[in-house]
């Protein structure tokens, strides 16, 4: 489960924002392009925090829909509207930028499009044990 590696990144980040062992809440945005397994991520994140001596932190996972905008013609579209092989979706799961290899603008055919939102894993908010916001680290 490669989600474990990203859970470690989230934990390290939260711990660097708060003083260690005092993380009380983490809000994570999951871009649908990367199609992260929520259960695996949440299990891993809890296990990692616990092994770092952080107990009872609230984990909130929020989906963010992946949206594209073509830099050549301006068209916008959603990943959920794209038909794609399971093997290619898995490649994008590992490396979201691979989307530029397999998906082209539905209007003009270009690969030169922007992932406007919903690419991958982002931390939206970290609340530390003393109630302070570590968000703007």
């Amino acid at each position: 489960m490669h989600e474990w590696a990203l859970a470690e990144a989230i934990a390290r980040y939260a711990e660097s924002v708060c003083s260690s062992r005092r993380v009380s809440k983490i809000v994570v945005k999951l871009g649908t392009l990367q199609a992260i397994d929520r259960e695996v991520l949440s299990f891993a994140l809890n296990a990692i925090l616990e092994s770092d001596g952080i107990r009872g932190a609230e984990i909130v996972l929020e989906d963010e829909e992946a949206v594209f905008r073509c830099r050549r013609c301006g068209a916008t579209w959603r990943y959920s509207d794209v038909e794609l092989d399971e093997a290619l979706r898995e490649a994008i799961h590992f490396l979201p930028e691979a989307v530029h290899s397999f998906v082209r603008c539905p209007r003009c055919g270009s690969r030169d499009f922007e992932v406007v939102k919903g690419r991958g894993v982002e931390v939206a908010e970290v609340v530390c044990g003393d109630g302070s916001e570590g968000g703007s680290h």
Binding site: M1, H2, W4, A5, L6, E8, A9, I10, R12, Y13, A14, S16, L88, E90, A91, I92, F94, L95, P96, E97, A98, H100, S101, F102, R111, D112, V115, R119, G120, V121, E122, V123, A124, G135, H137
Partner: protein
Amino acid sequence: MDPREAVIRDRFSSVRRVVAFASSKGGVGKTCITCASALALKELGHRVGLLDLDVTNPTAHIVLGIDPKSTEIEEEKGVKPVEARGVEFMSPALFTHGEPSPLRGGEIHDAILEMLSVTRWGSLDYLLIDAPPGMSDEVLDVLRYIPRLEFVVVATPSPLSIDSARRFTKFLLDEGARVLGLVENMGSGSLESLCKSMGVRYLGYIPFDPELDRAIEEGRIESTRFYASVREICRSAFHSL
């Protein structure tokens, strides 16, 4: 906020040395030399990894005989490098399946952050990086993120390459990067004076080998004189051997 940066240092904790083969000029032999060095260091008894960072035009898998389409990716608390002739190997090509991969700089930066943060290298003596040409996100990002990074500059004796190597080496030294030295490819020793004038170590030269392309095609780079030259350079360049 992007959490990925926070974990990259950990990913390199099992790696003793990270060495990037680089030059702003394309076609000087970075890929061939990186791959041959990986195989040679392995032959010399080391545990070796290779990371292809030519994000929009990866080619190291061709030299190492990996077919991206038929290669399974294994997950184990991250993404495991694939095994290529005894070398731990990671490349964007494993995920793009031979399709074009045009990416703007910000996207290249994102792809590199992703690979650096999810790839789980084993216990390695050397992780070699095959850098792309140019002086852009790829080189700036490895300088920014990879701890203890060392550089080998690759150049040929052509006037365009010499001018590029001079500028690229100045860039690295100005950034405070560790430059192990310069390798002269497809030459016969004429770049030694360039190295002196720049104050970097001359690591040796690799002669032009008319058999190299065919050997790559046939998946037997180890049988070439090119490989023998690279192995000698590795032997003397990496002190600890």
